[in-house]
Amino acid sequence: MNKVYPGADEAIIDVKDGDIIMLGGFGLCGIPENLIAALVRKGVSRLTCISNNAGVDDFGIGLMLKLKQVKKMISSYVGENDEFERQMLSGELEVELIPQGTLATRCMAAGYGMPAIFTPAGVGTEVAEGKETREFKGKEYLLEHAFDADFALVKAWKGDTDGNLIFKATARNFNPLMAMAGKITVAEVEELVPAGELDPNNIHTPGIYVNRIFKGTNYEKRIEQRTVRKSQAGQ
């Protein structure tokens, strides 16, 4: 058994036009940079992408949008991307906006073998249109279904050769949830170590959920909103 791949191109060799693909990250934080670059190189198209955001014009999923590789985006917030807005308003791009917690929990549901979950998010709004509702203890909930994705592409901080993953800080976000949810899960990691080097107490995603893993390179880790305090001396 070998889960370790030489790089991103080999790890997504069997992604096909029309596939449903989950991509981890929140904004540009914790996105699978190497895997996105490989999808761009591969030129695969008509993809349905499930990702909290859609990148920015020239980074992240934005790179795929520019090349019109994406048929449909399923996201919670897409406000950082002009090309996205243009394609959406022109009808070139199909967009399904769903509440962020619903997005996260529908990923978790897939990874936990739960076909559907109940959430109050969106009750009484247009998100609820056409959806089944149900009352529990006087409160109304929407029935939302688990996602069904062909691939989950995630980015972790550290990983081992058995596929165990550890994420760093808020770059964790959707990554462990999507890692559990793909039919095939591919993880790119900043540091790849032999099985046994990670503390089993601190694993965020057990290797059973990860089919392919490789060491990513050249992480740009672009910051969207660089906010700082004045230098320490000024304090």
Binding site: F26, G27, L28, C29, G30, N52, S75, S76, Y77, V78, G79, E80, E85, M88, L97, I98, P99, Q100, G101, T102, L103, A104, T105, C107, M108, T119, P120, A121, G122, V123, G124, T125, E126, V127, W157, F167, K168, A169, T170, A171, R172, N173, F174, N175, P176, L177, H204, K221, R222, I223, E224, Q225, R226, T227, V228, R229, K230, S231, Q232, Q235
Partner: protein, 219 residues
């Protein structure tokens, strides 16, 4: 005089109590963090997976892996914890977050809120707002009393697509503090120097005014 955004944030900070877990939305709500009284412990939740959010980092110490829900670089405080987005919204849905402060385009006198979409014009998405307003025990809206055209944002009924229904508890604007009651917006406090008359004129929804309405204390 109507409040500045900073002053709105300052007034909201007075709603925070010792031990509160608080989620602050983007915009004015984010500023609330700057005015938390030093004698209480408040834990800021960022829905992208952090409890115990600290101030912006010093220049040169930004970590791209450490951001808040507004995608701003931040820091953590002692006692912080990271988690995934499912747990983050899990604790929100379970009512563990004591207070949510968020901005709005419109609020109705029933407590409905609209803040995620202007049909045909702006569709950025709801992000975590729908989850927050559907679940938080206590929701305070921070916003300007009127839009740039001078039209009231406190309406009998929202005209924009809703974010949540009958969920807002309190509104703090540049002109007033108002509670949502069965009878509509109840005026609780006025901004210093702002007359009840002006607030009445700029509130399109039902407004309840009882006796004396004190001025806000921002000292």
């Amino acid at each position: 005089m109507s409040l500045t955004k900073e002053q709105i944030a300052q007034r909201i900070a007075r709603e925070l109590k010792d031990g509160y877990y608080v989620n602050l939305g983007i915009g004015i709500p984010t500023l609330v963090a700057n005015y938390i009284q030093s004698d209480i412990a408040v834990f800021l939740q960022s829905e992208n997976g952090l409890l115990g959010m600290g101030p912006f980092p010093f220049e040169g110490e930004e970590d791209p892996d450490l951001i808040n829900a507004g995608k701003q670089t931040i820091t953590t405080l002692p006692g912080s914890a990271f988690f995934d987005s499912a747990m983050s919204f899990g604790m929100i849905r379970a009512g563990k977050v004591d207070l949510t402060v968020l901005g709005a385009m419109e609020v109705s006198d029933l407590g409905d809120i609209a803040n995620w979409k202007i049909p045909g014009k702006m569709v950025k998405g709801m992000g975590g707002a729908m989850d927050l307003v559907a679940s938080a025990k206590n929701i305070i809206v921070a916003m300007m009393h009127t839009n740039p055209k001078g039209q009231s944002k406190l309406l009998p009924r929202c005209t924009l697509p809703l974010t949540g229904v009958r969920c807002v508890k309190k509104i703090i604007t540049d002109l007033a503090v108002l509670d949502i009651t069965e009878n509509g917006f109840e005026l609780i406090e006025r901004a210093p120097g702002i007359s009840v008359e002006e607030i009445k004129n700029k509130t399109a929804g039902r407004l309840v005014v009882r006796n004396e309405v004190p001025e806000m204390d921002l000292t």
